[in-house]
Subunit: 303 residues, 2 copies
């Protein structure tokens, strides 16, 4: 299996949902991604934290054999996001975003990270995503996420990244913003014309759409859960499961690999949303995954 390089945010989140709230709980795309992908393969993390970052939060990653030598600690505070969800939990409302040490994040890859074959550029500024790619010597499979903020403010850089990646994992609404399409299906085909060979549209409680020009559409629902505690990190968890599985195969992914990877991502994301922060994800075992995969197979079983 190959190690994955992930570059993204390491954060503390203060979150309120109809089920309760947490204050300064572990979050950030790179944390969710690394916890999920480390269930399948080795992971190398690049990110920045403040001197308030707690030792136990670093140890959570190292206990999973995540390589954290690319994490830098800077004087100041860790990125802090505060927000809440209402009603159907489909959209987070931001109360405050304190970038803190993340504001001047400049990803610099340790020498031993530069040969990473599987690379995931989590939702950070597209010019930083480009900087990361310049430092990777022989990537085999590169993925990225993005968000409306970058679509609105750095579209040219974003378009340049799109031309350099193999797969984009993106929320449905953002795929529609980026392409001007009125639904996720139309957005998928349009987005693939912008560069990537494969596209995964994340639909939250409605599951995912995988699209490749060669294999067409693969669409399945999310795992059904009557109660969602906190949807934060579900998309990054999906990406972690997706990439972790692909890297564990140690080859250039073929169509069937991408389908399987989407299911793995869906299953892992279903654990994340069952508790606040990374609480549930941090406890998931391979056996939990197998049990849920079997239940999911029944949910989508037509014949």
């Amino acid at each position: 299996m190959a190690d994955i390089l992930v570059v993204g945010s390491l954060a503390y989140d203060s979150i309120e949902t109809p089920s309760g709230k947490v204050d300064r709980a572990l979050g950030g795309s790179a944390n969710y991604f690394a916890l999920a992908s480390s269930l399948y393969t080795g992971v190398r993390v690049v990110g920045v934290v403040g001197d308030d970052y707690e030792a136990k939060d670093l140890e959570l990653l190292t206990s999973r054999n995540v390589d954290t030598t690319g994490m830098t600690v800077q004087k100041g505070k860790t990125f802090h996001w505060s927000g809440y969800y209402q009603g159907d939990l489909n959209e987070a409302v931001t109360r405050s975003t304190e970038l803190n040490v993340f504001e001047h994040f400049n990803p610099n890859l340790p020498q031993n990270y530069r040969d990473s074959q599987f690379v995931f550029l989590a939702n950070i500024s597209p010019d930083l995503q480009l900087k990361v790619l310049e430092q990777v010597t022989k990537p085999l499979f590169v993925g990225m996420d993005t968000m409306n903020f970058w679509i609105d403010s750095k579209l040219n850089d974003l378009k340049a990244v799109l031309k350099k990646v193999d797969v984009v994992l993106i929320n449905e609404g953002e795929a529609m913003s980026l392409t001007g399409a009125h639904n996720g299906i139309a957005a998928a085909a349009k987005l693939c014309e912008m560069g990537p060979k494969a596209l995964v549209i994340k639909r939250g409680e409605y599951g995912f759409v995988l699209y490749t020009q060669a294999d067409g559409f693969f669409i399945l629902p999310a795992f059904p859960l009557p109660e969602v505690i906190d949807p934060t990190g579900a998309g990054d968890t999906f990406a972690g499961g997706f990439f972790g599985y692909l890297a564990s195969l140690n080859r250039a992914p073929v169509a069937q690999d991408l389908r399987e990877a989407c299911v793995k991502g869906t299953i892992l994301a279903s654990f994340t949303i069952q508790d606040f922060s990374v609480r549930s994800l941090a406890k998931v075992t391979p056996r939990d995954i197998e049990t849920r995969l079997a239940a999911y197979r029944k949910v989508i079983s037509w014949h």
Copy 2:
């Protein structure tokens, strides 16, 4: 195979979508339902139209061997709905609803309809739905649809109908309104506690959720279409395909039958939304269905 009895609206719709508009085009739940279900079995329609109802619209049903002796023509105008859709087409905005002869609709079943074993109560007032059931002598499998208007105005009657039906087919938002649940998954289980043995939640572009206490969840996406012309009637078409398939089996449906019926409904609904009014649905052939089923199988194929 058994004949289905359907009671619902027969209407003219004036519809505007981003793709264009139509004026006084054929619509109404019973028309969509009958056109879809008649691809699988015999159908008996109960409804009322005005003296402006065109002969060709009646002939469309009779040409499909739909029994229209339960349709009555009254002096006055046919039910007319006018509305439009914007952007993602997920919700219709009503411009006007002219009930006309439908206002005093009082379903009276012809004698030869009363032995119908498969009965579908489309979205009409729940007290009328109850009146229909009183006239049916030996129903084997009864289904219903409803909407927010009845949830808000006739909840007690609606609860009484729920206790007398085998399956409810309902939009996700309405399932949430009716149960107070925050998502469709939680709503499914709660709704089944109100009476029906099976529940189908219609999720529009996101597909459907089938739930039964015995078999649990069966969830699949809609057939992917990059362009939707007019979503009107998709839910009634789904119901028609669902019931038509079940009636063609001529037995009390088992779990696997319900799963297959949902797929049939999904496929038929995908034709309806590809043109205005019943234009596309009226032309669908068994071969079209087989071709699209094969494409759908690939879209959802995990292994």
